[in-house]
């Protein structure tokens, strides 16, 4: 372990970053998540994210779930660059008209089991943009959705919790 790694680790331990209770929660849920992923997806659960017109911070929280505090990759959750490698599609945003085709094509490019997860209130039914002339409103009108993670935006911890709930089933 390099000095810098140690430095990071010690910052985490000291709890400078976030309240210690939360770190414990992350570790505990993470361990369960890892078990579930080991059992059902042979150690790695691959997700492809698609933004269909979000305000940008649903993405920020997904990225935060990958930072060293939460670090979902160590539990087996990977964000992949291509839908061809993905077990699940994670969709954010209210589905603007311009993104309809891209969303459909990304879904078509996925292999089975083609899970679709929506994240954030926008992706459920258009959320705060529901009434807009340019919003299709809700991913579930277009693709079969397995799980919705509510929030505006959901926190990294809520994201982990929701994934755990899905994979434990």
């Amino acid at each position: 372990m390099s000095t810098l790694d140690k430095l990071l680790l010690c910052r985490l331990r000291k709890g400078i970053v976030t309240v210690p209770v939360e770190i414990q929660k992350v570790e505990q849920m993470g361990a369960e998540l890892k078990k579930a992923i080991n059992a059902r997806f042979r150690r790695s659960f691959n997700i492809r994210e698609v933004d269909t017109g979000s305000c940008g911070i649903c993405e920020a929280e997904i990225i935060a779930a990958n930072n060293p505090v939460y670090d979902v990759a160590r539990f087996g959750v990977n964000f992949v660059a291509s839908p061809r490698h993905a077990d699940a599609l994670l969709v954010t945003g209210p589905v603007g008209k311009n993104m309809l085709l891209a969303l459909q094509k990304t879904y078509d490019a996925m292999p089975e089991p083609k899970l679709v997860i929506t994240l954030g209130d926008c992706a459920l039914d258009g959320g705060i943009f529901k009434e807009s002339y340019y919003v299709e409103g809700g991913v579930s009108k277009i693709l079969p959705v397995t799980l919705h993670i509510p929030g505006c935006p959901p926190t990294p911890l809520e994201i982990i919790e929701a994934l755990l709930g899905l994979l434990k089933q």
């Binding site: 390099s2 810098l4 790694d5 430095l7 990071l8 910052r11 985490l12 400078i16 970053v17 976030t18 309240v19 994210e49 698609v50 933004d51 269909t52 017109g53 979000s54 305000c55 940008g56 911070i57 649903c58 993405e59 920020a60 929280e61 997904i62 990225i63 935060a64 930072n67 060293p68 505090v69 964000f79 660059a81 291509s82 839908p83 945003g93 209210p94 603007g96 008209k97 311009n98 993104m99 309809l100 085709l101 891209a102 990304t106 705060i128 943009f129 009434e131 807009s132 002339y133 340019y134 919003v135 505006c152 935006p153 926190t155």
Partner: protein, 494 residues
């Protein structure tokens, strides 16, 4: 009703261009915004300029009859008007005569019919078939030139946009941006809303600038109604705006490190970002500082800012690692240069503008809360990725200092104005967000409802800056250049 920081000058069709040109030259200002508004029998065009010297905003206005919706384009003389003119044509069906680029920015030809203009008052969602026209990208032809299309779905966890690179060998010879994928029709959604019910929506225009956007909107409405925001509330807003700047700047500093494969400092940066989010959560109940700004003040008081010291200690380490790494500096300097003249022509302001030597920051002289603080902006002249990185470093440290000074100035007292009212009138609200100036021009009708709200996020103009900065660079440096600007898809697409 007049505001001392806004000057409106009426023009006629034959001298509108000349008036704009003289405002542009006299105040050395790009077109900060240009937009239309529907009146009973006319459309009114507004073209906004900023005078840094006089600390005022100048608007040239032109009325054009509805039965002949056109006006002479000014983009030939003032290029920064170009995108705004195209936007007006697309959203209102008003033709800027002489502007040759009739491609749409947001209502993509593949999914939206011809002749349906969302911002007209009589607009109804169209039933006609989409125009179906293919989007004509500028073509670069010649031996060895090939095109690389990227997006709208990218490899990373990021907003949607389409980039069309033309490369000759490695170097990029042209980059065409096609955006609008995040268009949600926000300006239309705001219409007919009572201002207090609209604040939450303005936070979602660009979520990473929730404070800047909602503050700018509140500022406009408060100016119209003469609502006096208590000093304590104004200072709380400023503290939150600086926290917003800090978490975004450190995220981008880390992002630039990751885009050249330097993962240690990137990890440290993301830890610092997480610490600021935790602090935000503790202060306001929201990691992204949402739900705080309300018309007339803030919705809740804030507690102490413990934790800022350790954040600054971490940041010092981060800065040390980056600026002492020769191989890192080698990648960011002199990569992705945006020349000052180009930036001026395109109307690039804010962070990217300051990195190219354009010394405009609304916190210096424009925003009342900052006047007492004697804020000094930071500028560089090289316009490369390193300059944009250094601006972020300076501003991160500057924000922490500002927060400390704001805390010292924080008086006891109310956090909400007592005289909240929504009366007829219009005004410009403005805030220097972390990307640059966020502008909200708001017109309230006789019932105090929103008749027109024009939102101008700095990303709208600055995206073009990116397409010039990458010329001559290689595609592998594109992510770095892109991150160094870090523009907002939703902020530009509305």
């Amino acid at each position: 009703m007049t505001h001392k920081d806004e000057v409106y000058i009426e023009a006629a069709a034959d001298n509108f261009g000349a008036l704009c040109l003289s405002l542009h030259k006299e105040h050395c200002s790009p077109v900060m915004g240009m937009f239309a508004r529907e009146l009973k029998d006319d459309y009114r065009i507004y073209c906004a300029f900023i005078s840094v010297k006089l600390k005022k905003w100048f608007f040239a206005t032109l009325d054009i009859p509805k039965d002949n919706p056109q006006f002479p384009s000014i983009a030939k003389e003032i290029y920064s008007a170009n995108l705004f003119e195209r936007e007006i044509r697309e959203m209102f069906g008003i033709n800027p005569i002489g502007n040759p680029d009739n491609r749409r920015l947001r209502l993509h030809e593949e999914v939206w019919p011809k002749g349906s203009f969302p911002l007209r008052k009589d607009f109804v969602p169209p039933k006609e078939k989409p125009e179906g026209r293919e989007y004509p990208f500028a073509k670069v032809e010649g031996e060895g030139v090939f095109e690389v299309p990227v997006g709208p779905v990218h490899a990373g966890i990021i907003g949607p946009g389409h980039f069309r690179f033309s490369v000759a060998g490695e170097p990029i010879v042209n980059l065409e941006l096609r955006l609008g994928f995040s268009h949600r029709g926000v300006e239309k959604l705001l219409e007919n809303k009572i201002p207090s019910a609209a604040v939450r929506l303005t936070e979602c225009v660009a979520g990473d600038s929730a404070v800047a956007h909602s503050w700018a909107f509140c500022h406009a409405v408060e100016k119209i109604g003469g609502i006096k925001v208590p000093e304590r509330a104004a200072i709380i807003r400023a503290i939150l705006l600086e926290l917003e700047r800090m978490y975004n700047h450190v995220a981008d500093i880390g992002g630039m490190a990751i885009d050249v494969g330097f993962s240690h400092p990137a990890a440290l940066a993301s830890i610092i970002k997480e610490s600021i989010h935790s602090l935000n959560q503790r202060l306001t109940g929201s990691r992204f500082l949402k739900g705080i700004n309300v018309i007339g003040g803030v919705a809740r008081d804030i507690g102490n800012l413990d934790g800022l010291d350790s954040i600054m200690a971490d940041f010092k380490d981060l800065k040390g690692i980056l600026l002492s790494s020769v191989s890192f500096l080698d990648r960011v300097e002199p990569t992705g240069i945006l020349r000052r003249e180009t930036a001026e022509n395109l109307g690039v302001t804010g962070l990217a503008g300051r990195a190219s030597g354009i010394a405009i920051d609304l916190r210096q002289g424009f925003m009342e809360t900052y006047n007492k603080l004697d804020y000094k902006l930071s500028t560089y002249s090289s316009g490369d990725c390193l300059a944009r990185l250094k601006i972020r470093i300076d501003e991160f440290e500057g924000s922490a200092k500002l927060i400390r000074r704001l805390l010292e100035n924080l008086p006891q007292g109310e956090i909400l104005a007592s005289d909240i009212n929504f009366k007829e009138g219009y005004s410009l609200g403005y805030v220097e967000g972390w990307r640059g100036p966020v502008l909200y021009w708001v017109n309230l009708d006789g019932e105090g409802k929103i008749d027109r709200c024009k939102i101008i996020d700095p990303s709208f103009r600055s995206w073009q800056g990116l397409s010039y900065a990458v010329l001559g660079e290689i595609i592998p440096d594109f992510p770095l250049c892109n991150k160094s600007f870090d523009l907002s898809y939703p902020g530009g697409d509305l």
